[in-house]
Amino acid sequence: MPDLFKVLVVEDSKATRELLASLLEGLGNLEVVTVVSGFEALKVLPRHRFSLIVTDINMPDINGLELINFVKKNPHYRETPLFVVTTEGRTQDRERGMQLGASEYVIKPFEPDAFCALVKKYLKL
């Protein structure tokens, strides 16, 4: 039996968080860890081995860009694919996200199927 993939979802909106989690869980063989802020993300990162990180940009404490920077500069997490899921935002924020090393920039509202397809691609499900 293959290892269970763990996915970290960082999102401060409860409804969106649960929607993302249920989409991901629907893919099967996935464990989803959800946190509500960048702070919490920093806390759970060392405790798990994530196969994918999905984060929002606009969050109250540490913003998503800072989180991407942290993940991509850290040798432990550098290889983990990271999706930004955010509302059609400023192009500048988007460019920065990609420059910092985000794998995909998913804009809300997104097609659940397309999102799942992306996840499958990165996790090779």
């Binding site: 401060d12 909106s13 409860k14 409804a15 969106t16 649960e18 929607l19 249920s22 960048g38 702070f39 919490e40 920093l42 806390k43 060392p46 940009i57 606009n58 109250p60 404490d61 540490i62 913003n63 860009l65 800072e66 989180l67 991407i68 920077n69 942290f70 991509k72 500069k73 850290n74 955010t86 509302t87 400023r90 500048q92 924020d93 920065r96 420059q99 910092l100 809300k108 509202p109 997104f110």
Partner: protein
């Protein structure tokens, strides 16, 4: 994930955001003319941004559009591109007003209304306000000695805050702190709070380099008007250091004012109405109800002690004490009744909520049907448990569609039959004690017995030998079988491939009953009987073969005493005649395979489920009681026939019968004979 839950969650979260927005705006409103606090502006911006994202994800385009415009305006404001003048703040207040109106519409599933028009007008107004302010920007950030790696993780807003501080000549510091991974969040939050007392924290950057396995470093870009010595003092308890970034200067120009459009009365969508209503998750009420249920049991126990004490006489409790105890127990009982009633009332909503929506749909259907029909509606003030009301709209709509589409004849047919040209469709609700009765009726042609018989034969739903023997009532009930329809072609109105079986299933879920009254030439009426609530149930306590069970009273139609000799056997099944209607009879002991006890007479509990009726015989009736059903433990969950367990107050758990399951179980052999559906 169920279909309904995310919608509820969306509404709950969106309402919360809008309420937060309106609270923040009140503060902004009160401080007109002053420069808004950056943190407040940013939090209002974030709220609008979240609302936009949320509503777009859940497909609410109008909310998305207005939230988007609001977000753009707030963004321009926080980035210093426009001024917070009266026109803009007025527009914000109106927009939040309109957003709560849109949410109300969304919660009622409405798509058109004055709130929608207001929202569109407002969005345009705000856009026009924004388009009048051009942006003069030259970039002071370039002068800062910040490394690109820091600049690149800043959001546009954080950049703006840096710029503003540079322009105002505020000193910028990079504060560095390293914390243990175990408690960094508390320590960092504390440090940020301490810093905010004397400075503005523009950005918090987790440092990628300095972290070892157990520590994590942070760089806080801080704009501080106080002296460096003061900053050092604040940082000391956190072991944090600071480095100077720059010490170095023109406010945005005011925007010409635009006239505010006439947006119509906003009183109907006032913010007050939101603030005076408390939204409560119905599961919390369920918990309260469960607690009341437990209290009711305690009350029964106390009552029993009181009676016991009195019965024990002088040898037991002092008679005065026993009397006192009995009195207090009665007082407790009354108060508990009030409490239970109070909680039930909170759950109750008038049927009008659904009726209004149905009336609008029906009127549209009437226009489209081309038939001449008067629609009568009454009983919208009858109240029912919110959960039940929510689930009623689909079955009722289906029945109304049927009445309009199939029930009422064309005007020509009606005149030919000697009836008035105009038909009549009615939707009535009446309150009857613990039940609510809803009737959907028409004065049309009535159900055609012969056609139902033919159709049932054709579809193999009944056998050729059985069909001619079936009574009208039995025949009528065939329309509830899946796949049954007497219409040749699927109509525009009700043809969605959904039959009355769906109506039946919906009602079963609500522990409701459905009956058909139909006379040829006079019309058809569907009578729905629904319990007031599903939260607490009144149960009949019965005994069979020495075991005690609770039967939910909302499934009980009546109780009759029958001697064994009065039973008849039809096709290997025991039948019972109740006022001319033949119903299947079964002893509860037989169903549960308990040893049968010889009895002089059976107490037959007549139970029903949707259109089915069944006589359930028990050995003894022990009384009635309010019970809160608790789910069965995992081990017993798969046992058919039980809805749960309850405690009757004598500390003994008894099983609560799942009447719908028992009835379907009983009906199954007959249905199987009607064809394998």
């Amino acid at each position: 994930m169920s279909e309904k839950k995310p919608v509820t969650e969306f509404l709950a979260e969106a309402t919360e955001i809008v309420e937060g927005l309106s609270r923040e705006l009140v503060v902004l409103d009160e401080h007109r003319g002053e420069e808004p606090e950056p943190d407040r502006l940013n939090s209002i911006f974030r709220a609008a941004h979240s609302l936009k994202g949320l509503s777009s994800l859940f497909g609410h385009e109008r909310i998305t559009r207005l939230a988007h415009v609001l977000e753009d305006a707030l963004d321009a404001l926080r980035l210093g591109k426009v001024m917070a003048d009266d026109a803009l703040i007025d527009a914000f207040v109106d927009a939040v007003d309109a957003l709560s109106g849109l949410l109300t519409m969304a919660s009622r599933d409405e798509s058109e209304g004055p709130a929608a028009e207001r929202a569109v007008a407002l969005a345009q107004h705000i856009e026009s306000l924004l388009s009048q302010g051009p942006t003069p920007v030259e970039d002071p950030l370039k002068q800062l000695g910040l490394e690109p790696s820091v600049l690149h993780v800043l959001t546009e807003y954080e950049e703006h805050r840096l710029r503003e501080n540079v322009k105002k000549g505020v000193t910028l510091y990079k504060v560095r702190a390293v914390f243990s991974l175990d408690d960094f969040d508390q320590r960092l939050t504390a440090l940020t709070a301490a810093l905010k007392a004397i400075a503005e924290v523009v950005s918090t950057l987790p440092s990628a380099q300095a972290s070892d396995e157990s520590h994590i470093g942070f760089d806080l870009l801080t704009a501080c008007k106080q002296s460096a010595a003061e900053l050092t003092r604040v940082l000391a308890p956190y072991g944090a250091s600071h480095a100077l970034i720059s010490a170095s200067t023109a406010p945005p120009r005011p925007r010409p004012s635009a006239p505010r459009p006439e947006l119509g009365s906003s009183s109907e969508l006032s913010l007050r109405s939101l603030a005076q209503t408390v939204r409560v998750d119905i599961s919390r009420l369920d918990k309260l109800m469960a607690a009341v249920g437990d209290l009711l049991l305690t009350r029964s126990n106390i009552k029993r002690f009181a009676e016991g004490a009195r019965a024990a006489g002088p040898g037991g409790l002092h008679p005065l004490w026993a009397q006192e105890l009995a009195r207090e127990a009665r007082a407790l009982e009354r108060k508990l009744d009030d409490l239970q009633k109070g909680i039930l009332e909170v759950r109750m909503v008038p049927l009008g909520q659904v009726f209004d929506r149905l009336a609008r749909l029906v009127r549209r259907l009437l226009r489209e049907s081309g038939k001449e029909i008067d629609f009568e509606i009454s009983g919208g003030d009858v109240e029912l448990d919110k959960l039940i009301v929510e689930d009623l709209s689909d079955p009722l709509m289906h029945l109304l569609r049927n009445a309009i589409d199939h029930g009422i004849e064309t005007p020509e047919q009606r005149v030919a039959a000697g009836k008035s040209r105009r038909g009549r469709v009615r939707l009535y609700a009446t309150s009857e004690g613990n039940h609510v009765k809803i009737e959907v009726g028409d004065d049309g042609a009535g159900l055609d017995e012969a056609r139902i018989r033919d159709e049932a034969l054709k579809r193999g739903l009944v056998t050729a030998t059985k069909a001619p023997q079936m009574q009208r009532r039995e025949l009528l009930n065939l329309v509830f079988l899946p796949g049954f329809s007497t219409r040749k072609q699927v109509s525009e109105l009700s043809g969605r491939g959904v039959g009355l079986d769906v109506v039946k299933t919906n009602l079963q879920r609500l522990s409701g009953l459905i009956d058909i009254v139909s006379e040829p030439g006079q019309g058809t009426t569907f009578v729905l009987t629904l319990p007031l609530t599903l939260a607490i149930i009144r149960a009949l306590v019965v005994q069979a073969s020495g075991h005690t069970y609770a039967v939910p009273l909302n499934s009980v139609l009546e109780i009759v005493a029958v001697r064994p000799s009065e039973l008849r056997t039809v096709e290997h099944r025991q039948m019972l005649s109740v006022r001319g209607q033949t119903v299947p009879f079964v002893r509860l002991s037989q169903l549960f395979k308990l040893p049968l006890v010889e009895v002089q007479q059976h107490y037959v509990v007549l139970v029903g489920l949707a259109q089915h009726r069944m006589g359930l015989a028990v050995d003894a009736l022990l009384g009635q009681q309010d019970v809160v059903t608790k789910p069965l433990s995992a081990r017993l969950r798969d046992v058919r026939g039980f809805a749960g367990a309850t405690d009757l107050g004598d500390r003994r758990a008894v099983l609560v019968l799942d009447v719908p399951a028992l009835v379907s179980e009983m009906m199954r052999p007959a249905d199987a004979g009607m064809g394998n559906l």
